[in-house]
């Protein structure tokens, strides 16, 4: 039973355009959400997070939106750059429980 779902295995975007990565969750107790970025042969690196008391968090080119009623969050990258090409994981937790990860979305930014 997957509690965090990333239904798009891959996404291709042109350089300079917006990348939108989506994530759905089923556990209504989740109250903290994170996005991680992973390059091949490296561990995931923390990108941005959002608490359930907010609906938007922005950090430079990265913005995360949270829609609690739909149990949906998204990561927007504007403008997309070739160096953004990686696998992006959505993760969630409740209280101090360990993070639960989605399966990831492979983003390819084409120059």
């Amino acid at each position: 039973d997957q509690q965090v779902k990333q239904n798009s295995p891959s996404l291709s975007v042109q350089e300079g355009r917006i990348s939108i990565l989506n994530c759905d969750y089923t556990n209504s107790m989740f109250d903290y959400f994170l996005w991680y970025k992973k390059y091949p042969a490296e561990g995931p690196t923390f990108l941005i997070s959002i608490s359930s008391i907010k609906d938007k968090n922005e950090d430079g080119r990265f913005t995360v939106f949270l829609n609690k009623s739909a149990k949906h969050l998204s990561l927007h990258i504007v403008p997309s750059q070739p160096g953004d090409s990686a696998v992006y994981f959505c993760a969630a937790s409740t209280g101090n429980t360990p993070l639960v990860f989605g399966k990831g979305t492979r983003l390819s930014v084409i120059a």
């Binding site: 994170l34 042969a41 561990g43 360990p98 989605g102």
Partner: protein
């Protein structure tokens, strides 16, 4: 910037052999996690430590996997005997609190032949 150290980076072992991975978390991070990532999947928790105590090992296959963090600092994950299905990336992470997210090491890529 502080890092989580893991070794070895790569390990090839024959099935039924024993294998061990080591992790040194960021200094001061009381919480340490071992995750396993199978190709095409997201990381899945194996075990969580708070200092030297196991907090959650519900997903750890205890018939063949063991983990310890004896002095509450570095940690070892062991598999004995290894099976073909254990081939995966084994990731160690540490955290001070959840607001900063987890810091992951570079992982150990295990191939069982």
């Amino acid at each position: 910037e502080a890092e989580v150290a893991q070794s070895p980076r790569y390990k090839i072992t024959e099935k039924s052999q024993a294998v061990a991975f080591w992790c040194d978390p960021i200094s001061g991070h009381a919480t340490l996690y071992w995750y396993r990532q199978i190709l095409g999947q997201g990381p899945e928790l194996l075990v969580q430590f708070q200092d030297e105590s196991v907090v959650d090992d519900s997903q750890l296959p205890k018939d063949r996997f063991s983990a310890e963090r004896l002095k509450g600092v570095d940690s070892t994950l062991k598999i004995q005997p290894a099976e073909l299905g254990d081939s995966a990336m084994y990731l160690c992470a540490s955290s001070r609190n959840r607001e900063g997210g987890y810091t992951f090491g570079s992982g150990t890529r295990l191939t069982v032949v």
